[in-house]
Amino acid sequence: MTTNLRGEAAIVGVAETDYMRGADRTIPELILQASMAAIRDAGLTPADIDGVIPPPGFISTEEIAANLGMPEVRYSITVHMGGASPTAALQSAAMAISTGIANAVLVTLGWNGYSAMRPRPGVAPSRRKLDLGPVLEVSRNFYTPYGVRSAAQWYSLYLQRYVDLYDVQPTDAAEIALASREHAQLNDKAQMRGRPMRLQEYLDSPPIAGPLRKLDCCLETDCAAAVVLTSAERARDLPHSPVLYLGGAEGHPDPADEITNRPELLRLGLHYAAPRAFAMAGVKPTDMDFLQIYDCFTYVVMMELEALGICEPGGAKDFVKGGNIRLGGRYPMNTHGGLLSQGHCWGLNHLVEATRQLRHEAGAAQVAGCELGVVTGYGDLGDGSIAVLGRDR
């Protein structure tokens, strides 16, 4: 029996739609198009897919299977971790594949994060909703009545503590926004391509909540993406160089459904998950050739870098400086532009980019000769997920 998932499964297909502000297609169309493209990228057909991990809400496994033509789905599960869901889903996909329960698993997500998450003139809200799941009950009774109902407000309950504790300045967080924007200039699919950012523009952007300025926040986006996994053995017969799932984990803060009563306010899900993932992969954070870090907000990225153990608690503000996280630096981060400057696809776009990097097909953003990389996910009230990925040798 397999006791370690290291190297058992591989990402063999990836795809993404454009990242749009106002899509002319419905959410199911976006998800199905990304899914079909990822399956084709893998050199497979929908009939080869027997495992499906759809997003929490918007569409079901049954609809995906019926629309694409998957005659025998053997495994389906949904991860309810907000933006941590897609990267956490890889753990389930790898388990299903390594045990033989499924041969090939599709992980997909799409949404109308721009068009329908809040009211906009002339846009009819979709009946297809995000399933808020674990976030809903505590927040609607104890946060929402006080006008605290957005992610920026929730996370500021601990980000404010973080910046006060470690004396983190706006110019520190700016480095993350500026690096993402610089990388987006190399990416045809980045919403912010052609719109470079200067530090002063960042500093002048309006306050949103707590320490967050507008340019600390990711882009509301209409988009979809998908990845396909199969066994490492089978992956070697498919068109692309396999990208091995070397280790991964999910983690939940304690308690996960409520922020304010946590004994350790600054301990996120990723703090629990990261050590497990690196142990499984048998590598250290400092072995990584690139970082694809879930960047809903710049300050959250700083907390995640510390949770990874790639720098000390409070050390992220120095870690991100001096070009360290830019292409050409030691740890190029979010080489596609990330949620901040490419678009918000719940970090599935981070998995797509990590795969392209490890295939050595990342174009102008290629990290030369990269062999190892890490992807993180973050969502709901601080849930975390991680995947350590490697190029097949």
Binding site: T144, P145, A209
Partner: protein, 149 residues
């Protein structure tokens, strides 16, 4: 507000603030606070207080509890000032500050700032949570400086 509502009621100056439809254990919490006095869930076995309401004690795993009155007194544990909101019921209040109070009994609750400004806040400042009943199954909490009361 819907068009129907405004045809039978005089138009409000601004959209109403959200008041949750409560149920289950959370409804029980608010019903016990309906007088305006905060009541906290208190474990009958190990005598710890807890919030938000839970069916089992996180410390001793007991399912037996009582609702005990609280003075509402505590200290500032954190706060968030919002400069932007998607909540139309709160847009006229911008910027507004929401405070996390650590009660003397241990649990922490959110409340809206009153009788002070964000400039008066610092970690550890003594404050009091004051309940304002909105319905028999929901109480809104204000956070006031302790010395003013």
């Amino acid at each position: 507000m819907t068009a129907q509502a405004s045809s039978t009621n005089p138009p409000a100056a601004s959209p109403r603030k959200y008041v949750p439809e409560t149920e289950g254990l959370n409804r029980e919490f608010f019903e016990n606070c309906a007088s305006g006095t905060l009541h906290l869930q208190h474990c009958d076995e190990c005598a710890t207080y807890r919030h938000p309401p839970r069916y089992y004690c996180q410390h001793c795993f007991s399912d037996r509890w009582s609702w005990e009155p609280s003075s509402g007194q505590g200290t500032v544990a954190s706060w968030v000032t919002s400069h932007f909101t998607v909540d139309r019921g709160w847009v006229d209040e911008l910027p507004y500050t929401t405070v996390v109070v650590e009660l003397d009994e241990g649990p922490r609750l959110l409340g809206a700032i009153r009788n002070m400004t964000v400039d008066d806040l610092h970690l550890g400042k003594p404050v009091r949570l004051v309940g304002e009943p909105k319905r028999d199954d929901f109480v809104f909490f204000w956070v006031e400086p302790l010395e003013a009361g």
